[in-house]
Structures are given as structure tokens and as C-alpha cells.
Symmetry: C6
Subunit: 96 residues, 6 copies
């Protein structure tokens, strides 16, 4: 897995909008999302090269419909970090 | 998948009402809903042509029983965006 | 499916009470309930003829133990609306 | 099913305590509980004769550790009400 | 099942810490936990002799990292109470 | 199982960031996470030697993006504590 990009917004409308903005701004892929944290918070995680992920997250912060509450880019995620993210993504595998 | 329309309201009564308003206003189909975000928020996602989806979302904002907290129309969703929405919808497949 | 009636209350005690009031006031059937929206909100959905559903929802508003936070009657639900409600009900099928 | 008794309290400690108080005060049986409503609310439902259920609920209100936020006794629950309660209980069946 | 001890704290860090304090203070066993009540509340239930459970709960209140929001000791739980607690524990059975 | 380290933060962005900081600071492994407590709280649990876990938790507190709301190091967790943590981790087993 390459770099990981993260954004956190309020609600699913904002989350899908932010993902669309990110994927249209650069070459990133959707990895997983978390949406049962309470307080309406939704997390979207994407992957790609460091520059693509950075551009995507910056674009979401500038152009997405709703304010981005938290964001991060991890250029070189540790193996354990990748494992945690893959565990989140694993519940989506085989569903499409 | 064609255009995607999104509305977010408080509670299931408002969500079903908004869907009914949308489907009666133009030719849109129900895609999926999310209702475990906390804070009573419910998201409804519909699909159709850009003009049908736009009309549906505008109608929900004008005529639905409860205020629409957030809304969006994505005329040409990115493939990754479609994938995220289909993952949400996939848990409903085969249930009817 | 005929008309749909909806009420939203705070908590399960109020929800079961309201359902009991509705079913004793007119000839309606329990369709489904939603109770994981957060904020203690519970939605109860019933079905029947328009007049029965209207009477049931009015009765719940007048006579139920707890205040009804939101309510609605959809006399002629759109097919997509029926599908959304049936998807909610489908998780209950085969359990009794 | 005979009469139904309901109490709603904050948290699982209070819920188990209230059930214990109810079952020791009169001849009632545990039917089901709901605990994912948000806001820490927990609902406990018991069944028995009208007088036993009434006594149990009154006892919980007088003697349980924590305040009872909501309570109800339905002496002769409608068939649809019984069905809704049994659907809640059905997820517990076969687990012991 | 012997006596039951209960503590309720805010968050999983506090819950695991309290369990560790309880198990090191006296001879009690972990029975189950509940952690999806909302509002970050976590309940931990232990079992043992009355004196062991009492000592464990008192120790958690004195020495655990975080304040104990609610606690209880039921020296002789009713059969129905034991059944409710075992139903909570049953979802953990066979997982280790 | 060796020492256990715990941190609690607000949101998944902060949780993954804190895990990455911990794993890069010392030789710890990801054990499990809890993220449905409500109020956006996320708990991350790691394991390793006492000194590695202590260093990891301290590093997360110093260097992670978001404030650590709660943290703990249990140098010699009781067997029952290990069992509770393994039960949390067991839902992740076999997913990768």
C-alpha cells in the first residue's frame, strides 16, 4: 500500500462529496470508510502516491461542500498501520 | 450509474417523507440509505438523470415535511464514488 | 402496501406504548421499527387503509404516554418508498 | 403473552439492578432488552400477570439504585404489540 | 453463578484498567462487557464470591485510573438476572 | 501477551495517526481497536515489551496530531484482562 490520505467530515452527504472531489483532483483510490463513531462523524480513507494523496486531501479541504473536520496524509504508513486500515476495509471486500 | 442525489434529514419519518417527495417529483430511484451515524441523522441517496435528480433534491428541499440538513447533486460521479455508494447499497441487495 | 403511518418518539417504552395505542385505535399492522439512530429516537411504521392509519397516528399523538416528536401519513406511497420501508422490515422477516 | 412491564434507565448497571429488583419483588420473567438507542438509555421488558407486572414496575421505581426514566404497564397488549416485542426478543433466542 | 459485580466508566481505556484492578485485587472472573450504549459508556461485569466481588468493586472505585460512574454488587442474583447477564456474555462464547 | 498500551482519541483520523506514531517510535504491534462507543471516541490497543509500549504511548501523547484523551500502560496484565482484550481482537481474526 502506498501513501494514505484521510479526511473526516460531518455526515454521509459531505463524505461522498469529499471523496468525489478527491478522486477527480488526482489519481487516488477509495480504501474504506468508517461511519458509526457517533456524533455524525464520517471518515474516508484513500490511497495513491504521496503527491496524489496530498493533492487529493488539499483539494477536499479547499473545494468540498462541507468543512473538513480532520485530515491527514501518511506518506509511508507502518505495516501495522496498513494492517489496521486493511481490517477496516476487509468488511467491504467481496461485496461488489 | 447516472447522477446521484443526496439529502440528509433528522429521523426516519423525515427521511421516508423526503424520499416519497423526491420519487413523486421526478423519475428517480432509491439507491441506499445510512442511518447509524448518530445524532438522529439519516442520509437518503437516489439516482437518475441529472435533471431528474436535481428536480428531486430541489423538491425535497421545498416540500418535504422536515428541513433538509444537507443535500448534494453529483452529475457525473467518479467511478470510486460510485463504488463507495454501491458498497453502502450492497447490504440491501437480495433482501427483497 | 396500503397507506403508511409513522411516529417518532424518545425511547422504546414510548414506542411500544404508541404502537399499542395505534393498534387498539384502528385496524393497522406493525410494519417495522428503527431504533439505532442515536439520541434515543425510535421510529414505528404501521400500515392499513388511509383512514385507519390516519386515525392511528392521531390517536398516538393524543393518547400515547410520551410526546410524539414527528409523525406522518403517506396515503399512497410511491413504489420506491415502499421498497425502502420493506428493506427496513426485511431484517425482521423469518424471526417469528 | 400476558401483561408487559417496561422500565427505562441510564446504563447497564442500572438496568440489571432494576431487573433484579423486579424479579425479586414478584413473579415476572425477563423478555428482552434494548441497549443501542444512544444516550446510554437501556430498556428492560418483563412479563407476568397484570398484578405481578404492576408490582414489579412499582418496585423498580421505588427501590432500584437509579432513577427510572420511563415506565409502563400494558395489561392486555395488542397482538401487534406482542409481535414487536417478540421480534426484539427473537435475537436472544437460542443463545442460552 | 455466584455474586455479580458491575462497574460503569467512560471509555475502553478506563474499562480495561478497572477490570485489571478488580482481577488483581481479588479472585473475580470477567463475565461480559457492554460498550455500545452511546455517550462513551462502558459496563464491565465480573463474578465471584460475595466478598471477592465486593472487594473488587471497591478497589476499582478507589484505585482505577478513571472515575467509576456507576457500580453495583448483587450478592444473590435472581435466575432471570443471571439469564440476562448470560445473554450478554453469550455473544462472546466460542470466540477464544 | 506482554505489556498492553492504550490510547483514546477523537475520530479515526487521529486514531490511525496515533497508531502510526506508536509503531514508528518503538517495536509495538497493533492488537485491536474499538470505535462504536459513541461521542466519536476511538480506542487503540498495542502490545510489546513494557519499555516499548511505554515509549509508544508517550510518543503518541507528544507527537500525535490530535490530543490523547486517555492513555494507559498495563505492564503485566491479569489473565482476565488479556481475555477481555483478546475478545475485542477476536472479531478481527481471519479477516486479512
Amino acid at each position: 500500500m502506498k501513501a494514505l490520505g484521510f479526511i473526516e467530515v460531518s455526515g454521509v452527504v459531505a463524505a461522498v462529496d469529499a471523496l468525489d472531489v478527491m478522486c477527480k483532483s488526482s489519481n487516488v483510490e477509495f480504501v474504506t470508510w468508517e461511519r458509526k463513531l457517533g456524533g455524525r462523524m464520517v471518515t474516508v480513507i484513500v490511497t495513491g502516491t504521496v503527491s496524489d494523496v496530498t493533492e487529493a486531501v488539499e483539494c477536499a479541504k479547499r473545494n468540498a461542500q462541507a468543512p473538513v473536520m480532520a485530515s491527514n496524509v501518511i506518506p509511508n504508513p507502518h505495516d501495522e498501520t496498513v494492517r489496521m486500515v486493511k481490517l477496516s476495509a476487509s468488511r467491504l471486500v467481496g461485496k461488489l
